[in-house]
């Protein structure tokens, strides 16, 4: 058994001896046990092992970093040498740094030890449940795995953290078929520690399978209109992630191109809209515990009652952009409060719009403009779900869209990573042929 703490300490000492002022070492050992189903048949069971080491050295205002997948002494010696060569050739930048001393911590979470037999039985039952309950569904691929990781983070400021964690992951890719007709493919998945609850009852799997069966026959939208779009949780997660990436973090803040650059403490969304980055929400299976700078994470509200409460900034972005450092640097682990209306009641208040399960779109522009195909989606007409649609696009602007938030469902989907409701936004352009 490799003693990662001892190895990390040795790496830090070597980096100091080689001339580093400060240094970080992050070492991980991981094991993956994986079942695959392809074309409806079990096709793979395997166990794979991996190891990674990332060494980062700082001298004055220069930084070097190396990642390798070997813990052999000769390879580590070479990595230390390469890391310091990186320092030598780096462009000076005083914005970089590492966390101040927070002490030592050992954390074990999730389900680090797998029960492979039970997981296989649960996977087999999931396959049978889908075949029985959703006869038109054709399973293109199911990738279920248990992933265990032991990570040690150490730095020369005295931080030493050992994290041991694991979870079961379920990932499905499928479409519905009748004769020569088929739905678009659809995917869903989640992380869990629970093998006692049937896998089909976790995440949003049952609803997504059921709705995919209703998408074999589709009707294109004629012309275009501006309406209200209800985004399913996975789709909402994707677009909120784009908004955070474009407006709240990284180069957009540093370059000053973010449309939220001067909005801290100001309204960036409807007063009814709140979004937290909450890796420690009880429903999250594998939280972000550490930032890459070495800070232990905490939850925070990104937007509370429509007001931008924080950016997403580690040390570098914070120093470069002149914004406060955030309590975590996750761009996932999105948590939104549940609304008061059920999904059906939310839809009942919409005259004309779409329920969108999947957004197949280009990367939104820096200003937030987006457009893409509404896949696996339904027309909403006069407060009711109508036909499934095809060849239908939605367009809008992410920054404007948040001001047009029109409510969230009381149902929230917990997929182990995020806790999100269905959310409605008005003012979206829907266009068809």
């Amino acid at each position: 058994m490799t003693d990662l703490k001892r190895l990390a300490a040795e790496c830090l000492a070597k980096l100091k001896d080689a001339g580093a002022d400060t240094a970080q070492a992050r070492l991980s050992l991981s094991e993956k046990r994986e079942f695959n189903i392809d074309g409806g048949e079990f096709s793979l069971f395997r166990t794979t092992f991996n190891r990674t080491m990332t060494l980062t050295a700082f001298r004055e205002t220069r930084t070097g970093s190396v990642t390798l997948n070997s813990f052999e002494p000769a390879d580590i010696e070479r990595a230390v040498s390469d890391c310091m060569a990186g320092v030598e050739s780096d462009k000076p930048d005083p914005a970089r740094g590492i966390a101040e001393n927070q002490g030592e911590r050992e954390l074990t979470y999730g389900a680090p030890e797998p029960d492979a037999e039970k997981f296989f039985a649960a996977t087999k039952t999931l396959k049978e449940d889908i075949e029985t309950r959703y006869p038109t569904i054709m399973m293109e691929q199911m990738i279920n795995s248990h992933d265990k990781t032991e990570t040690v983070y150490a730095d020369t400021n005295g931080n030493l953290f050992r994290l041991v964690y694991g979870s079961y992951g379920v990932g499905l890719m499928f479409s519905a078929h009748r004769g020569d007709k088929s739905s678009s493919f659809m995917g869903c998945g989640y992380a869990t520690t629970d093998l006692d609850t049937p896998l089909i009852e976790q995440g949003d799997v049952a609803r997504v399978l059921s709705d995919t069966e209703k998408q074999i026959d589709t009707v294109p939208v004629e012309g275009s209109f501006v309406g209200t779009v209800v985004l399913a949780p996975d789709c909402l997660c994707e677009l909120l992630g784009c908004a955070i990436g474009s407006f709240a973090t990284g180069t957009a803040l540093i370059d000053g191109t973010s449309v939220w650059r001067d909005k801290l403490g100001k309204a960036v969304a409807s007063p009814d809209f709140t979004l937290s980055l909450a890796p420690h929400d009880p429903a999250v299976v594998l939280p972000q515990q550490l930032t890459s700078d070495g800070y232990l994470t905490e939850d925070f509200d990104l937007i509370r009652d429509g007001v931008l409460e924080s950016f997403v900034a580690g040390i570098y972005v914070s120093n470069k952009a002149g914004v406060p450092r955030s309590k975590n640097t996750a761009t996932g682990w999105l948590v939104m409060p549940a609304g008061e209306k059920t999904l059906d009641e939310l839809i009942a208040g919409i005259d004309d719009g779409l329920l969108v399960y999947r957004f197949s779109g280009g990367q939104p522009a820096g200003n937030g403009d987006f457009s893409g195909v509404a896949k696996n989606s339904f027309r909403i007409k006069d407060g009711k779900i109508a036909d499934a649609v095809s060849e239908t696009m939605i367009s809008g602007n992410l920054a404007e869209m948040l001001f047009h938030f029109a409510g969230a469902s009381s149902e929230r989907v917990k997929d182990g990573y995020n806790v999100l409701p269905f959310a409605a936004f008005s003012g979206i352009t829907v266009s068809g042929k």
Partner: protein, 280 residues
């Protein structure tokens, strides 16, 4: 309002071989800057079904995303639209499409594959010939199931990865039209040149993000376009192709995502066709 454009320079070969003289890249940077300035004054396209000329980079993406994936035999087993279409007309007779192994049009392909990761010697896989779907892409297992010959499409990324059915260098073959004649033939439409990303599904419905393009009015290029998205259904859209240019543009900067990443080449000529434009 910020506008962005990204261009990839370089190609097959090592970094020090390709970038020995940075000045060699400057003309491409100048070109990119000129396009960016035009885009800064750009307009949003009108949404709806439009006559478009797809640039070669986009045609390559179409070949890869919207057709190539649908004929991967593992996706055929999973219910891809291409399964029952084998032997049938799926495109205009002007359209032929091949997944090249290591050479195409008398030159090395962008990402040559000589033998795949199941040990099968790689040969070209013809997919569409004159508008007819004539072949799928297989590994040894699916080739046996379908009674076909494996052609070297089983590729793995990392040392611990299992080989999956993947494309190599997928391209629509050039035609006989000149780009200038194609533009002159469009009364009201768009010339779409650059893309940021693309997706398609097993129905052949595709979406491409457009990062650069121009209006065409009365046969002449007009204002630049802001970012937008196009979509269509491959086997329907390809039937609307009525002009194919005589020049192929290759692109090999991206990774195809299908459980594992994989470097691929994709290419094609300009196509005149009907497409659904996104817009506001």
């Amino acid at each position: 309002m910020p506008v962005e454009l990204v261009a990839v320079v370089g190609g097959y070969g090592s970094f020090d071989a390709l970038f020995r003289d940075p000045a060699a890249v400057f003309p491409e940077v100048d070109l990119l800057y000129g396009k960016l300035l035009a885009k800064a004054e750009g307009v949003r396209p009108a949404p709806g079904l439009k006559t478009c000329i797809l640039g070669g980079e986009l045609t390559g993406m179409l070949a890869h995303e919207a057709v190539g994936h649908t004929v991967e035999a593992d996706l055929v087993l999973g219910g891809s639209v291409a399964g029952p279409m084998l032997g049938k007309t799926v495109a205009s007779p002007l359209v032929s499409l091949t997944d090249y192994a290591h050479a195409a049009f008398g030159k090395a392909a962008p990402l040559p594959v000589y033998v795949d990761d199941e040990g099968t010697p790689a040969v070209d896989a013809e997919i569409i010939r004159d508008g007819i779907l004539v072949g799928d892409l297989n590994n040894r297992d699916t080739a046996r199931r379908f009674g076909m010959k494996p052609q070297g499409n089983a590729r793995a990324y990392a040392f611990s990865d299992e080989p999956l059915i993947r494309m190599r260098n997928t391209a629509i073959l050039p035609g006989k039209s000149r780009l200038s004649d194609m533009i002159a033939s469009v009364e009201d439409g768009y010339y779409l040149t650059d893309t940021r990303n693309g997706q398609a599904d097993t129905t052949g419905e595709f979406m491409f993000g457009i990062s650069m393009g121009y209006e065409i009015k009365n046969g002449k290029l007009g204002r630049a376009l802001l970012d937008t998205t196009i979509s269509g259904v491959a086997f329907e859209m390809l039937k609307t192709v009525d002009m194919v240019s005589d020049t192929v543009t290759w692109c090999s900067s991206g990774f195809c995502g299908k459980k594992q990443p994989m470097p691929v080449g994709l290419g094609g000529p300009e196509l005149r066709c009907k497409l659904l434009m996104g817009g506001r």
